[in-house]
Structure formats: C-alpha cells, structure tokens
Symmetry: C2
DNA sequence: CAAAAAATGTACCGTACCGTACGGTTCTAT
DNA sequence: ATAGAACCGTACGGTACGGTACATTTTTTG
C-alpha cells in the first residue's frame, strides 16, 4: 500500500504532520512549481521526473499513483503554512485589534498567493471525482485549520470584552467575507488583482474596521 | 472561422445576445447536463454526440473545436440567467430594502446552483491557458453583469436616501462578502452546504441586515 | 417531387499520458 | 570492500480522446 493511500488520505488520522524525506520534498517543490505556472495539465509524471531529475518509478514507489502525487503536493504545501498564534494572553484592546488585523492580513497573503491559487484550482478541478480526495484534503488541512485558529482568536476577544457575538464560527465567516469578498474567486478565474486589492494591509484594515462596527463591544 | 472564435469569443462585441439554433441549444443543454455531474472530463466530444444524438462532425462544424464548445456552453448558460430589474422608481424604504434582499437571494440562488458551480469549476480549471477564454467569458458575462446590476440598484438606494456610501462598487463588494462568505469556495471544493446555508432567504436577510448596519442612512 | 443542403453514425488516425519494466548507476551499511 | 537497496533514465504497452473523412440518411427548398 502506498504512502498516499495509507497515511495522507486517511482522514481519521489527519492530525499527524505527514513526513516526507528531503528528497521527496525537493521533488514536491518541483511539482509545485510546475503547477503554479501551467496548471494541472502541466504536471505529468514524465515531466516531473524530467524537471526533478528523478525517475518515474520512484514517483510511483513514493506516491502510489498520480492522484497520490497530487494529494502529496497538497498535503506538503499545507504543512508549510503556519499562522501566528496569539502572542500572550495579556493584551489591551489596541494590541488585540492589531492581532486580528495581522491575522486577516496573513489570511489574505495565503489565499491570494500564487501557490494557494494553483492548489485551489487543482482541487476544484478534481472536485467531481468519486471520493474527491483533494477537495477534502484542502478543506480539512487548510480552511478548517484556519477557521479553528480564527475562532480561538475571536473567542479570546469576546472573553476579554473586546468583541460581542453569539457564534464564533458565524463571526469568523463575516470577517472572512468582509476581507475576501469576491476577490478570491476572481483570482481563481484568472483575473488580475487591482492595485487596491494588492494592498493587503489596507484591505485587512478596512475589513477589520467594518467587522468592529458589527461585532465590537 | 468557427462560430466560437468569430462571435462568442469576440469580447469587443460582447453585448449582443449570442444566438444559437434550437438544435444547438438542445445539444448545449445535454452538454450542461454532462458537465453538472461528471465535470469537464465527462464532457467528451464522442460522449456528447452519443447522448445528444448528433454527430461529432456537427459539433465541430458548429463550435470549431472542443474549446469553442466549452465557450458556447458558458455563453449559453449565461444568456439564460436574468436578474429582476428594479420594479419602478417609486418605492419607500421598506420595499426598497425588500428589493435588495430579493437581489441577494437571487444572487445566492445562482451562485450556489449546481449549474453555476459546474461552470465555475470548468472555467477555473481552464484558467491557466494562454488566453483563458472561459474565465474571461464567465467574468464578463456573469460577474460583471451582476456587478453592474447591483451597482445601479445601490445607486438608486443612495439617491433616494436609503443608503450612504462613497463607492458603489465597494459597497457591492461588501454586500457580496456578507452574503457569500466562503460558502462559494467550499461548494466549489465539493463540500456540501449545511442546512443553515441552504436557507438562502435567511442568509440573504442577515446579510442585508448587516449591510444596513454598515451603509444604512 | 427531385435536387441540394445538412445532419447522423461509424470508422479511423495521431497524440498525449499513465503506469510498468528493465538495465545501469549511486548510495549505504556491515 | 562488497552486497544489497534505492534510484535514475529510458523505453514500451495500453488507453483515452481530439479531430477528420466518408457513406448514409434526413431535412429543406425550389
């Protein structure tokens, strides 16, 4: 049984960090590069073997089949994304708000990055498969992780009296919508971001400002 | 020169309604059905010819090549989507707000429909092509149309003193974000909507409520 | 009703790519 | 140093699909 089907795809054990050897990580890095410019069609087993200076046989030994390779790419990239955890519990209203704004900025940086866009395009393109491994992988190791992190941040704000809301998940969804709007989908469709949309700090600032208008205590 | 490259793809003349013969529309309907369950891989020329009882030669005569067929499917579906225009200029605050809410509900109905999701998945999957015809097609005949419609609706509300904002496009983006959040992307990734997210009227209602908190006069 | 235009269905070709096999090479451990 | 494992590069089979050609049938038109 391949590495892909035995551990990466096993969503019951989705907590452990998924180890790759350095050689495999180097190959996955090449795979990412191929994906970012060229899309899924550009990531062929022969092409990856050529650009990464490895053999196809190794690819199949490591990842099982092409789907396993794609899943490994997604899992590997997800393992590289880390969000800053809340810096200490002792913070006044001002610094807490700056934490929220930093979180939103980091969120936009990840979502609007070319790598994330390429992987989202890949997963969306595969979302009509029987099991839809990539979509679930991206959701569970990407969005759900971020969502959990955001909820804990917002809960802390409520506990300290900076925010007021009923459901943390609901509040996070609003914050997400205010920050992302339809920019994500437009980027996924290939539209270029406007200069204003490229100023992620400014975008995050106004989003947080509006969020506080709705949920500030 | 094929129909696809001569008229559908001609973005300079993107205003005229794109005519198809009834026979062609019937074939495009079958193509849509194939796309909705099965994704792009399921839409093969041979498969479409078989299910639609037409010949491959006719497909190539009508649409040029496979890309032209995909573009025709997108253009055809876009031509079927219509939003209710604002019903008369004489309306009080209450009915105007109901118009806004109806617009948001219609927006969600379109975006979360299986057909729209399938076409968005298709266009996103093709967004790394050289010209990226599908993405631009979906943007110009879909999102931009809706955006223009929304701006005029919001401008009317501002003119009547129901709303207060600086930039109509910016206000619309906020309304969009409040209503859609990350549900669209999650659906694109294959996740099922929660029961609460399926209540589009309720979702639109709270979105409009929050929008009025931010932009109400 | 007959000629012409259009459409159907099938057969075919070329290409692209997944997956496997195999000979040769490099690394590792004892 | 040497045996064994891992790996590289390449070549090949099988398959799926885009696109074309052509004979037959259906529809339109004068």
């Amino acid at each position: 049984m391949s590495l892909a089907t035995s551990s990466i795809l096993d969503e019951t054990a989705s907590a452990q960090p998924v180890e790759f050897t350095p050689r495999q990580e180097a190959v996955l890095e090449h795979a990412l590069a191929l994906l970012v410019d060229g899309g899924e069609k550009a990531l062929t087993t022969a092409g990856l073997a050529r650009t990464a200076n490895c053999s196809k046989e190794s690819l199949y030994k490591w990842f099982g089949d092409r789907d396993g390779l794609l899943a490994a790419v997604v899992a590997y990239q997800a393992s590289k994304v880390h969000f800053p955890s809340e810096a200490g519990a002792t913070s006044d209203a001002q610094t807490y708000r700056s934490h929220v704004q930093a979180f939103v900025t980091a969120l936009l940086e990840v979502l609007f990055g070319e790598t994330s866009l390429a992987l989202n395009r890949l997963s969306i393109g595969q979302s009509n498969k029987d099991s839809n491994r990539l979509g679930r992988l991206l959701l569970v190791r990407g969005k759900h992780m971020i969502s959990a992190r955001a909820r804990s941040l917002l809960e802390a704000g409520r506990h300290k009296g900076f925010l007021k809301f009923e459901d943390a998940e609901d509040a996070y969804q609003v914050l997400y919508g205010l920050a992302v709007r339809d920019v994500h989908v437009r980027l996924l469709l290939g539209e270029r971001a406007t200069p204003a949309e490229k100023d992620l700090g400014k975008q995050a600032s106004t989003a947080v400002s509006r969020f506080y208008s709705l949920f500030g205590a």
